[in-house]
Subunit: 216 residues, 2 copies
Amino acid sequence: MIPSENRLAEEYGVALATMRMALKQLVDEGLLDRRRGTGTFVKQPAFRADLFRFFHVHDVDDSDIPVIPESRILNCQEVPLPPEVQKAFGADSARHCIKLERVRLWSGEPMLFEEVYLRLPDFEELLSLNLKAVGPLLYPVFLEKFGILISSATDELSFGIATEISAKQLELAPEAPVAVIQRIARNPAGRVIEFRRVHGRPERFRYRVTLGDQPA
Amino acid sequence: MIPSENRLAEEYGVALATMRMALKQLVDEGLLDRRRGTGTFVKQPAFRADLFRFFHVHDVDDSDIPVIPESRILNCQEVPLPPEVQKAFGADSARHCIKLERVRLWSGEPMLFEEVYLRLPDFEELLSLNLKAVGPLLYPVFLEKFGILISSATDELSFGIATEISAKQLELAPEAPVAVIQRIARNPAGRVIEFRRVHGRPERFRYRVTLGDQPA
DNA sequence: TAAGTCTAGTTCTCTAGAGAACTGGTTGAC
DNA sequence: GTCAACCAGTTCTCTAGAGAACTAGACTTA
């Protein structure tokens, strides 16, 4: 909770109405939350997990409840920056990064194989973290352990063929067709935080997204 | 252009500041545009074409200029409402709808085959329209000819196999694998305006989307 | 004609404050 | 102990207005 508009206006030497306008702006930006009769609170930036979760698997009965697949982390190590990741991270990037490999399963069956590239030194501590304790969603971990908020991402979907490792992890024949998702995720300042390449089993693959102004 | 805040406040019998707040709200909602020293204008609801254009084909040199594929309309007729379209349109729908079939080409090669379902009687006039004159983008036509604005859409991507007609139009073997996009498009009130099913040639298929708050 | 100046009209930012609406806690009556 | 009434503190909505910033067009001048 922050001081009342009265106190703040006095403290900063501006009129009450001016302070109100400033506070309203911060509310519009989603940084503050005001409750009449109670006070003004800093809003913790709760990112919309549903926005960033592709692979909206729906239950067989077609209910609208998305299921979060189980997650199995295979690997997490420091690697030299691959060129396409370099391109996404930009010129100010370090020469190494973290590469995290994991498989996501649904009803026990492997559905997605993910290669996640993360900036160093930002995510240095991830190497010493207990990966067993990491839940199925990465972005909440980024926020809680590293204070890094993912607020936007660009996905690009296409078709391709499985690599040696993705074929093995997805239990597919070598060079089988797969869905390919490439994601670039950013913090609110627009800095690229993560580069991700995902291979998915094609036959049950689904990607759902809503564009534009969500109707109320 | 609408009257000045001074005149409006007088006319409606409210204080100037109150009218200003009201106007600001309308600006925030994207309905008005105010220019200092000039006046206040109603903003025509220019929908973001780039938001709704899947198949962001990029040039071979990987420049970021999206290319709009050429469009060839095959068919436009009244048909009974298929069940999945009925489900999307909801209970208040008529028993018939318009079905529009078209192929979209890039560099002369067919890339997408689209089946577009539109509400009747809203789009009645489309049947008598000269389809040759319709440009490659449908939504601007909806806005200009019918006054219907598409403001949001939900896309669902998956994999499937070509139908008889889509295989023919895409010059693929029967039952070849294709990319499937299903779209439900809505007006600002949330009413479903369009149901669309698209088949795409998989090998050059790309779907790009940005989620969350776009960085400035 | 061309360029600069002026002016009425507009929006933008800020001040100063009154009263309503609402909340959470305290007090008092039973 | 329980419930109602009260109260201080908060945000919300609205009023009334001054002065700055800016624009488009009219006017003047070379």
